[in-house]
């Protein structure tokens, strides 16, 4: 009896059986890659704001301290987006006719908020607190990157949970002295591991098995 299938069918079937495994694996990889990509995380994506406010200019060039605008960063969960009043402290004197600043003046005249686009947007079930991180020696730069070099702010990290846990599992990798928390371009004065461990003890940072408890961030 003549063979129904050609011998090459064996190869094709083998390839397709093994191929299916690779295909599923590739699909998984693709899904994972997509999930971690800036498409999903918005990492590094500069957002268009109603006012093209430049941190590079205000922080980098003029050297204004972070806390001049982000007033509650040492007191509260939110660092605070400055009220229009803060902008107008200077801009009622300088650049008073700049068309770029018209939304600010409009807000000041009408009493309506400037609608900023949120750049660092954590899910609602995450309760991040700025004040405690600042108090424990986590620099602004550690999470927000070189703000002084960003004309438009983009998200520096992925903001995925693995990124949070990376530090909560070993904070000594990132700690800096409290006086350098607001410094941009901080360089540790020695080995980071050594400094970090010293600061961790000094600032009474809780052991990692406590920092990684679910209720540290979720309630």
């Amino acid at each position: 009896m003549a063979q129904i299938f050609h011998r090459s069918t064996n190869t094709i079937s083998r390839v397709s059986v093994f191929g299916a495994v690779f295909f599923v694996a590739a699909l998984g990889w693709l899904f994972d890659a997509l999930n971690r990509s800036p498409y999903t995380t918005q990492q590094g994506v500069a957002r268009v704001q109603p006012v093209q406010f430049s941190h590079q200019h205000h922080v980098g060039a003029m050297g204004i301290d972070c806390r001049y605008c982000h007033t509650s960063v040492e007191k509260a969960a939110y660092a605070n987006i400055p009220p229009t009043k803060t902008c107008m402290n200077c801009h009622s004197q300088i650049w008073t006719q700049s068309p770029e600043l018209e939304p600010v003046r409009e807000s000041w005249r009408s009493g309506r908020s400037i609608e900023w686009v949120k750049v660092y947007d954590l899910p609602d079930y995450v309760y991040f607190n700025h004040s405690i991180h600042v108090a424990k020696g986590v620099g602004c730069e550690t999470c927000h990157g070189r703000i002084d070099k960003m004309p438009l702010v983009s998200q520096h990290p992925t903001l995925q949970m693995s990124w949070c846990l990376d530090c909560h599992r070993a904070p000594e990798k990132y700690l800096r002295p409290r006086e350098d928390v607001f410094t941009m371009g901080y360089v540790p004065a020695g080995a980071q591991q050594e400094i970090g461990e010293r600061l961790r003890a000094e600032y009474r940072i809780r052991p990692s098995f406590e920092l990684t408890d679910c209720t540290t961030c979720h309630r």
Partner: protein
């Protein structure tokens, strides 16, 4: 045979008695259904969430849905975060830091009386009520109404505008209409003008009304509070010849006799009274409480000796005690109970206290005053002052007069200031019908309700958290109420309404209140004094001075004992959770299990077991109650401890225009209330119908099968042998007798101690928790299936016979077991242990297997079967606590020990580089508790209050024999029975039963 047929009439209660006699190995029981092991009870015991069998989905559909679910699971992770916006302030408000709550002192006015509160506000939006420690009526505690009234402010059913005959009008046209009406009234000096308010303790409002009455001398002010204090004032008038306000010092009383006074459950001094009373229940220097009452109350539940008595029996009893204590001279037959109570009162001259409830007729109040005076208690445990409220002393009489005047057409303008008389006035007055004769009817109210429907003008009222006002507490202390938020719907306060009748109609509430107090606040600097009064939540030294009064020597001649009733008596009481109907549209309070019946969403006719047996009634039978020709159909609730031949109904239900939550719930007991029988009416007829009602009760849900979870001992037994409490339980395995891995030890070990000797079962903690933790309301049908979501439940246990059992309340929350049975069965690690001992719930991981709940011996886990949280009504989003995740469908939830409060305290402490101080973390339930029964803290610190509480020999854990090592433990309840009356009723019951 159906369940209803099985339970058909009579024999079941007899059977319950038999089973009660044969109860083995335990003393406590929860309900008749438990004793009878009804199908319903067994179902709740074995299938805690009762999945509906007829779900309308067949097997194929389920398989299809499951397949699709598996295929699509995980895709939910693919969503990108939508772009969100930030709206910063233009000019930041002073003192406000986004994300940091501010607390404002104000007051909750209940029945006219102020209780001091602190309202917690996030970015200008009040989200939680706490007690004000400085305020004399609160001392830091609150009640369910203070916790719950916040939700009314965000109620989407509130009336949202000013209307004239249903058409929207501006405030200016209302003012013009008032001008016109006043000009018409002027020639007759206001003879046709009437103001109807609730009980008014506000000095500003009193001043405003007095101002209008000066201009219109013939006008009249009528006050009506359905659960008012007429009897208290009339009783004082009978005894002293003048209406005075009695003020009780429960902390100073060694022996208390309550003649149906429910001072622990309601009453103007409620949070304070509980605080004072509970401070004397913890073992050292214990007080003793005797209660005689017709229907079980929270006060009766805490009594050392309680006797159910009909109203006539209570009066006879009061008379007998008065004779035995020498307060009045008369020969009366005595019985051992009277003798024992009188002897105890006489042995504690100057530190005894007799008080009568609002529901008691004036002679009983007068007798209580006479006994107090004869025993030298006056001036010590009870003092008197001028009445705190203004307006007519006898509200019922004034309201009756108003109704008659309206009927006769003598009223041309009726102004109803924040009241609902069409719904809650006595039925015989036919208030709604009489109102038809009034030319101009104006109504100010939070809701477009039964009364506003019959009024020409309806003015949307501002909620008390939206308006300036003032009010006096039970002792006269004034609180200036400050608004937390601008009126959400542009409502007007009662002050602004009254101003419309003055010559300054446009004056704001703030100016009116401030002007009324100008020059009257203590302190040299008026501005500082005003700020201080606002900050403290009270005006220093504004309590009314004590007044010396003497009992008239001839009062006994006026007090004739009523002839004992034959037949049935109807008793009318305000509802324990929705009060007189004021809170009927409040989902939190509707779903709150009533403290003794554990009913939700309904009222019922409470009938004593013996009476039910006699009449052939069982729980849920619908009966027709008729008295004096008025009829109401009501479901029966067989109530252990109810006086025989007395049927109690609670008014406040049966709303027709109360809002979406209120309408159609329960029956309207006001239909049976007449101005001569406000609290009790004899000649009641009960006719059984063939209908049955479905009531949603939580009393046999979450049962811990066949065990005695509460422990109660007498003070004497405990003093003699403190080990007695530990011996009431089974042997507890040691800390190493476990296969569970040892968990790492954190910096703190959180634990909770609940003192059952202090707890009165008032439910304040339940609502505080609901408000703090964004717990949604599920509705009657879901409650009946055991799906209520409250994280704290208060179990009510009975001990002893059906007719007069002892009652013990036990709040149960998540125990945060060190060896938590829920954690090991979770397939997805959604419930895990923290180093500090918290049993954490991770909503995002939860897939809803409910294994954890199956394995929880305490039945404290709650499952979101549906999307219970309202995601769509915008205004309800404002009431939620931003610190707590809003849960969606399909996840388990439970008490978290208020982890958001732990974290907040931790941030504060760690920013200052110091450990968290003892007492710095106060959980929501602990804060609300008026009895200070709940203590939270770090159990690894031996100096912490919680450790000291747990170190007492009466500390015990629930079901510790299972080796769960719960972090929440209890202190056994203590009672202080009179040795001459002990042993308590159990032995007698066996004899009789």
């Amino acid at each position: 045979m159906s369940e209803s047929e099985k339970r058909a009439a009579g024999p079941s209660i007899a059977e319950a008695r038999t089973r009660l006699g044969a109860l083995e190995g335990r003393e406590y029981w929860r309900s008749l259904e438990e004793l009878l092991e009804t199908e319903d009870f067994r179902e709740h015991l074995h299938r805690e969430f009762r999945v509906p069998i007829d779900s309308g989905v067949n097997r194929r559909e389920i398989l299809t849905l499951m397949g699709a679910s598996i295929a699509l699971a995980g895709l939910t992770g693919c969503t990108r975060q939508p772009t969100e916006k930030i709206f910063p302030y233009v000019t930041p408000p002073e003192e406000l830091v986004p994300g940091v709550p501010l607390f404002y002192a104000t007051a909750h006015v209940h029945g006219g009386y102020a209780r001091g509160i602190l309202a917690k506000s996030y970015e200008g939006r009040p989200i939680k009520i706490e007690g004000n420690e400085l305020h004399p009526a609160s001392l830091g505690g609150t009640d369910v109404f203070a916790q719950g009234f916040l939700l009314n402010m965000y109620d989407p059913d509130r009336s949202q505008t000013l209307t004239e005959r249903g058409r929207i009008r501006p405030w200016s046209s209302f003012l013009a209409a008032v001008r016109l009406a006043l000009e018409k009234e002027r020639p007759a000096r206001g003879a046709g003008l009437r103001f109807l308010t609730g009980t008014v303790t506000s000095p500003t409002l009193q001043k405003q009304i007095a101002g209008v009455l000066t201009e219109f001398p013939e006008a009249k002010w009528v006050a009506w509070e359905p659960a008012g204090r007429d009897n208290v004032y009339e009783g004082a008038r009978l005894a002293f010849g003048e209406a005075v306000e009695p003020r009780h010092a429960f902390g100073a009383a060694d022996v208390i006799l309550s003649l149906e006074a429910d001072f622990l459950g309601s009453g103007p001094a409620m949070p304070r009274a509980v605080r004072d009373f509970a401070s004397r229940r913890r073992g050292e220097n214990p007080n003793r409480l005797y209660v005689v009452e017709a229907t079980p109350s929270l006060t009766g539940a805490r009594a050392d000796h309680r006797r159910p008595m009909s109203p006539a029996e209570i009066e006879a009893f009061a008379r007998a005690v008065a004779v035995a204590t020498g307060a009045i001279a008369s020969a009366a037959p005595t019985d051992p109970f009277v003798e024992a109570v009188a002897a105890d009162l006489k042995a504690h001259r100057g530190s005894g206290l007799v008080l009568a409830g609002e529901s008691q007729p004036p002679p009983v109040h007068a007798l209580a005053h006479a006994i107090n005076q004869a025993l030298g208690n006056s001036g010590k445990t009870v003092t008197y002052s001028e009445p705190v409220a203004g307006g007519p002393v006898n509200q019922a009489a004034a309201l009756g007069e108003l109704a008659r005047d309206m009927e006769l057409g003598r009223v041309s303008t009726l102004v109803i200031v924040d009241g609902n008389p069409v719904f809650n006035a006595p039925a015989d007055l036919q208030f709604g019908k009489a109102m038809g004769n009034v030319g101009l009817r104006i109504h100010l109210g939070l809701y477009d309700d039964e009364t506003s429907r019959l009024c020409h003008w309806h003015v949307a009222a501002a909620h008390p958290l939206e308006a300036w006002s003032d009010a006096r507490a039970y002792d006269g202390t004034v609180t200036i109420l400050q608004p937390l938020i601008a009126p959400l719907f542009g409502g007007k306060s009662s002050h602004e309404l009254l101003a419309a009748f003055s010559n300054q109609p446009e004056k704001s509430g703030h100016d009116l209140v401030k002007e009324a107090w100008s020059g009257k606040l203590p302190g040299a600097d008026p501005d500082l004094a005003w700020r201080r009064a606002l900050h403290d939540g009270l005006v220093e030294g504004s309590a009314l001075p004590a007044k010396a009064v003497r009992v008239r020597p001839d009062f006994t001649s006026e007090a004739r004992p009523a002839a004992p009733d034959a037949g049935l008596t109807l008793l009318l009481r305000p509802d324990p959770t929705i009060w007189d109907g004021t809170y009927a549209n409040n989902g939190w309070l509707q779903e709150l299990a009533k403290p003794l019946t554990k009913l939700t969403w309904d009222n019922a006719a409470l009938v004593a077991p013996a009476t039910a047996q006699k009449l052939g009634l069982t729980t849920e039978d619908v009966v027709e109650l008729s008295v004096g020709g008025r009829k109401v159909a009501a479901p029966v609730w067989v109530m252990p401890g109810q006086a025989e031949n007395c049927v109690t109904v609670h008014f406040g239900y049966g709303r027709t225009r109360g809002g979406r939550v209120a309408n159609g719930k329960g029956f309207d007991a006001y239909g049976l209330r007449t101005s001569t029988g406000l609290w009790a009416a004899s000649g009641l007829a009960v006719d059984k119908t063939l209908r049955r009602a479905a009531l949603a009760t939580t009393q046999h849900q979450y049962a811990m099968e066949g065990r005695d979870p509460v422990r109660a001992v007498t003070v004497d037994a405990y003093r003699k042998d403190p080990g007695v409490v530990a011996r009431l339980g089974e042997a507890v395995p040691g800390p190493t007798d476990t296969l569970y891995p040892k968990l790492p030890t954190g910096s703190y070990a959180w634990g909770l101690s609940i003192d059952l000797a202090s707890c009165v079962g008032c439910n304040a903690c339940v609502i505080a928790c609901q408000s703090e933790n964004n717990i949604p309301v599920v509705g009657k049908d879901q409650v009946a299936r055991g799906r209520a979501l409250q994280w704290i439940r208060i179990d009510r246990y009975y001990k002893g016979g059906l007719d007069d059992p002892e009652t013990v309340h036990q709040p149960v929350t998540c125990m945060h077991c060190e060896n938590a049975p829920c954690e090991v069965v979770c397939p997805v690690n959604a419930t895990v242990h923290s180093a500090e001992g918290l049993n954490q719930m991770v909503y995002n991981r939860c897939v809803g297997t409910r294994y954890c709940s199956n394995n929880c011996p305490y039945k404290v886990r709650r499952f979101n079967f549906f999307l219970y949280t309202d995601y769509t009504t915008e205004i309800l989003k404002l009431v939620r606590n931003p610190d707590v995740t809003v849960r969606s469908r399909g996840v388990m939830e439970k008490c978290s020990y208020c982890v958001q409060r732990i974290n907040r305290a931790r941030y504060d402490a760690e920013r200052e580089n110091r450990p968290i101080r003892d007492g710095e973390i106060v959980t929501a339930c602990q804060q609300a508790c008026p009895a200070e029964a709940i203590v939270f803290g770090n159990v690894s610190d031996p100096e912490a209050r919680v450790s000291k509480a747990k170190a007492q020999p009466r500390d015990y854990g629930l079901l510790t024999e299972l080796g769960t090592r719960p972090r929440t433990t209890y202190l056994a309840s203590l009672s202080n029975p009179n040795p001459t009356l002990a042993p308590a009723s159990r032995a007698e019951e066996k004899k009789n039963g």
